[in-house]
């Protein structure tokens, strides 16, 4: 097959390519060339594996391929799934050069990545994301982990993949609800870092919902470019990387309070962005544009029926907090985000009680 142009996540000796194209799984991409040793473990789930596992295995001819299919859904992003992947690795007598391949959405990628980070204190790892959300966000940047009853993504590791392989054709099988949820993270990238891309999204949200291949490919590439640049600047989120969490403090609290899996991550982030837009210095026109775009993407505009106190308590487990002080990502304009550690408690309470009704 012809060479496919790749983005690069520039992290010194941990740098890696993001390959984005249509037909990668069908057309014989040289995935085996990215394995570190003689064998690998494909981590997938019961929904995705029947659709794509055989194709991925075909790209690995000549290698010892093992596979584990996890139950599908955010509710299973937990210690039991993490343990199951570790058990599978031990069972196949995996060594330090065994490669873990995550084939699925963000849940699969996060669990598989955390297991790859932890097995023998770190084995090589490849992401093959099959949902829009994973393709534009969670597969890039090395954040891995599982949920805890007390907090979303509360346990995990930074562990960069050695390749992110995005075959845009996999979006053909994605349910509409998941496509929309992925659009929330697409909108986020524009909102925090690129006003021009945000304007493009306003013009192309219908095309994206209609799964126009060119529009999807452009959106995925632009999000990966934005995320790769931010991650290259601040791999371990000691500063600027935190802006990628726009909408996530509220969003994670919604997911945790409802029970993981009730709302999709992207749905919770959509509402979280609208709440966070009330903070910062966004003018009314900009706030209206954000709201309109979220609505056009078919995403929820208000949180589910939850007590404000419940949400506030769940927000207390946000990983950005320091010694009890919450740190919000706020916008000063479309495309301009910053961390604000000085949002008055009364402001948060007011926002939540108005929103949560």
């Amino acid at each position: 097959m012809p060479a496919v142009p790749a983005l690069n996540v520039a992290l010194g000796e941990r740098s890696y390519p993001i390959v984005i194209a249509s037909g990668l799984l069908a057309d014989g991409f040289d995935l085996a060339g990215y394995l570190a040793g003689r064998d690998c473990l494909i981590v997938s789930n019961e929904t995705v594996a029947p659709l794509y596992a055989a194709r991925v295995e075909a790209l690995l001819h000549g290698r010892a391929v093992h596979r584990i299919d996890l139950p599908d859904g955010e509710a299973h992003k937990n210690m039991a799934s993490f343990s199951a992947v570790l058990d599978a690795l031990a069972e196949q007598r995996a060594a330090r050069d065994t490669t873990v391949i995550a084939l699925g959405g963000g849940v699969v990628g996060d669990i598989a990545g955390f297991a790859a980070a932890s097995y023998m204190r770190g084995v090589p790892f490849i992401q093959v994301p099959t949902t829009l959300l994973a393709q534009v966000d969670s597969s890039v940047g090395g954040k891995t982990g599982i949920n805890h009853a007390r907090g979303k993504n509360l346990v995990g590791a930074f562990h960069q993949p050695r390749l992110v392989l995005i075959d845009t054709d996999t979006l053909a099988t994605l349910p509409d609800r998941e496509l929309k949820a992925g659009l929330a993270e697409v909108i986020k990238h524009g909102a925090i870092a690129d006003a021009e891309f945000f304007a493009w999204l306003e013009d192309h949200v219908e095309a994206l919902l209609a799964r126009d291949a060119a529009a999807l490919a452009h959106a995925i590439r632009r999000c990966c470019e934005i995320k790769a640049a931010i991650v290259a600047e601040d791999e371990r989120e000691e500063g600027r990387r935190a802006v990628l969490n726009f909408g996530h403090t509220f969003g994670h609290a919604i997911e945790n309070s409802l029970g993981y899996g009730e709302w999709l991550h992207g749905e919770a982030v959509a509402v979280g962005m609208l709440l966070a837009a009330e903070l910062g210095n966004l003018d009314d026109a900009a706030r209206a544009r954000l709201r309109k775009l979220v609505a056009a993407a078919g995403l929820p505009l208000a949180p589910p029926a939850l007590a404000a106190a419940t949400l506030r308590r769940a927000m207390g487990m946000d990983k950005k907090a320091r010694s009890g002080v919450l740190r919000f990502i706020v916008l000063d304009a479309i495309g301009e985000a910053r961390v604000d550690a000085n949002v008055p408690e009364a402001r948060i309470a007011g926002l939540l009680s108005r929103a949560a009704g």
Copy 2:
């Protein structure tokens, strides 16, 4: 109290001091000054906590101190204990600036360190080792983890502490068997890296067994110096650091095959060193010196009654292996170690069948 001289583990922005002295816990060492935020979690066990937890808590006056006591012993260095520490952190609503303090031996340090590495993808961590083995080896260098039914230390992370606080007075309460087990790792440091220290140990092994304070302090300091230098050179064991595993390929296989906790780690390492000494280019005189020193330390000289095939199979899970090829640490002389990836399978089989009878 007067300033205590400290060793430094030189790892750039991850550098940290190892403070070694008598009376640190009793004399008001400024432990609170090393906390990152307002609160901490002391991870200890049911044996050590009654002896020393109150003293450590006294050094943290003014801070919010939480504590979890794990069951004692290698058999509990597992996923359940790891989860229990994470639950405790979530329960106290720990933030990214909460400090985890490991108070105990190597098992406590390894579990607490892995939990600190994983909670919120990494929170600060302090080691207060109370066994000789932990003071001379496991508390320094950032290796953390838990055992898996299939392999010792199979799951974990590299996570450097911000301080290692060694109060040599804690050795007063250490059972004799544990003291001897610690001496195995002391002997290892001489054997792999310092012929002069090895000779000193030959002269002072009786004093160490008699718990002579000056002798113990010297041995601990020298081991920490040796380990700090090796770790500074190769933090993530991509090369030279592997020599610290001298005796551990055989040793881990013994621990795993017997069931964790049957033999102490140091006991298994003692036998493992004698087996590994049969490989490499050690002359008979040097091998005899190693054997004599291990015997003088009251450590076992032969593996437990296990089938050679059982041990060989357990060795297959050694983390140094690559694509099924074992890599042994061998000695060319006392004080000179290297990695050997070319030990013929027949050599290993012969060694095991002779040793295991």
